[in-house]
């Protein structure tokens, strides 16, 4: 049971995390800066008896992992902006039918083709609202290579546990970064598997919540539990239903099944929150600069706290509110024109000034930019 020390790239760490969590199926379509994820899976899955397939496009890739998931495999795809947009329809389908799966999005600068090899965090709101209709979302954002391993591992666990697509919102900064990582031993990592039905195949109803945790069990195809699944609104039996009571019940449950557990879903790091009157909030690649800024500010004697969000959706409202309510200045540092700052604004009282340290020109935000939004720097 020893730690694992190595030089690892962010993209590679996501593969390691997924494999350690039990992923044995990958379908994808190459796109910079996520292609290393595919390449790594292509090399590592077959020796494990797993399957890698390069599909004809991102839509097909998303479909294939949902199919593989229903066939009983833990499944992942990876992409970046343009491909993430293409996957949205089926991300919604996975939400609706409750298919466990993980989508890794290594963000690059958009919109459109943008700057394919440059970092950005421009798809954060898309991760929440990208597919049509009211849907829940579960997304994490790693800010280091070690984080990437751990959060991808966690994403696979959550996908299995909550039966939904989970998004790992990497960005080019972290995806392409190689750094020294120290990972826990494999034995220490706790793997979660989807629930298997308790009853008999005859009495099985695929969307019946057997033990009241709001998450129905999911037997793999071929196991004798035959059932129907559809992206239409459906009742407990899995068949289409359009009575408002039923549609409401389903949609409510899809949201409630994570709302109920959200406090356990909030992952974050915080530094010096107590002795602070200003707060920096950041995530992903930008959090590296935020950390540097925080360090410098502290060295200058400023009372600054730092909150690095790892769970992005559901947005950790309570954590942010708690960290921010007693501050005189909140700086939200992100590599876009202001996305999660909107959530912070929504939550916080208007009397606290909320400032954005933002950058969306394809360059990693600098500590200086963040410092400039703090009060008392000069």
């Amino acid at each position: 049971m020893s730690e694992r020390v190595s030089l690892m790239q962010g993209n590679e760490a996501s593969v390691e995390g997924a494999l350690d969590a039990g992923v044995r199926f990958y379908a994808g379509y190459p796109i910079t800066p996520s292609s290393e994820v595919a390449e790594d899976f292509a090399a590592k899955l077959p020796p494990l008896g797993g399957k890698f397939i390069q599909m004809e496009d991102e839509i097909a890739s998303m479909a294939a992992i949902v199919g593989a998931s229903l066939a009983g495999k833990k499944a992942v795809t990876a992409t970046s902006g343009p491909g993430f947009s293409l996957k949205q329809e089926i991300i919604g389908f996975a939400n609706m039918i409750e298919a466990p799966c993980v989508v890794i999005n290594v963000q690059r600068a958009g919109p459109s083709t943008g700057l394919p090899t440059s970092p950005a965090q421009g798809d954060m709101m898309q991760a929440r609202w990208g597919t049509h209709g009211d849907h829940p979302a579960l997304a994490v954002a790693p800010s280091s290579v070690a984080d990437t391993y751990l959060l991808t591992f966690q994403a696979v666990n959550w996908a299995e546990r909550f039966r939904m697509p989970v998004m790992v919102m990497l960005d080019e900064t972290i995806g392409h970064l190689r750094e020294k990582v120290i990972l826990p031993s494999r034995e220490e990592m706790i793997i979660v598997n989807r629930k298997h039905p308790q009853g008999s195949p005859q009495s099985f109803q695929p969307y019946d919540i057997e033990d009241e945790d709001l998450i129905p069990p999911l037997p793999p195809y071929g196991s004798g539990y035959r059932f129907h699944t559809t992206g239409l609104y459906h009742d407990e039996t899995g068949f289409p239903a359009n009575r408002p009571e039923i549609t409401k019940r389903l949609l409510d449950r899809l949201h409630d099944k994570i709302d109920r557990y959200k406090e356990t879903l909030y992952l974050y790091d915080s530094f010096g929150l107590r002795q602070a009157n200003q707060l920096i909030i950041s995530y992903g690649g930008a959090a590296r600069s935020a950390k540097a800024a925080w360090r410098i500010a502290r060295e200058k004697g400023l009372l600054v706290g730092l909150l690095i969000l790892k769970t992005i959706w559901p947005f950790p409202e309570e954590i942010v509110a708690q960290a921010g309510h007693d501050k005189n200045n909140i700086v939200v540092a992100e590599m876009n024109r202001g996305q999660l700052i909107g959530e912070v604004e929504r939550i916080m009282d208007k009397r606290i000034p909320i400032r954005g340290a933002q950058r969306a020109d394809g360059v990693l935000i600098t500590p200086e930019q963040i410092l400039a939004q703090l009060e008392g720097v000069n």
Binding site: V5, P116, T117, E179
Partner: protein
Amino acid sequence: MGRYEIRLSGAGGQGLILAGFILAEAVVRFTDQEVIQTQSYGPEARGGASKAEVIISDEEIDYPQVTKPDFLLALTQEAYNKYNRDLKEYGTMIVDERVDAAFRGGPTYVVPIQRKTQERLGTRLVVNVVSLALFNHLHEVVPVDKLQEAVLERVPRGTEDLNKKALELGQELAQELNTYKVFREEEEEDE
């Protein structure tokens, strides 16, 4: 040491990305220091000038980009032109002899890396490893035998001997570094 920023640059295909990777891996395996490695991607990595960067530090490395390299290797003029600008004041430079470099205040070594590699090893394929050995000698990042271990693990099978020779050549050139060192007058930079 504190944060030390290294930039290895040259033409795409000269293997500097691999060199940066090997260097970073050697740091992980054979030292207690923190390390980060980044590089060019996309069309940039294929032609023209391309670079690999390594940051080594005793402390946690938060901001992961090289902004003011302490050290620059430039094997081609194009790479030099593109990547020399933000070298730290008094930063160290090793450039190939064919590169027309301006003195920037720090130690500047003009070394016939490419020519010597071609002459002595009959190929330029290993300029990256030669350069790596050269740099490592200068900065003593890891002991020579450890560097060799790191290199041999990552180079294609069948090229081990060639790469050992490249390491030796790098060492050798390193011995002569002062011979190659050139101080020039600082010129007006017109950008």
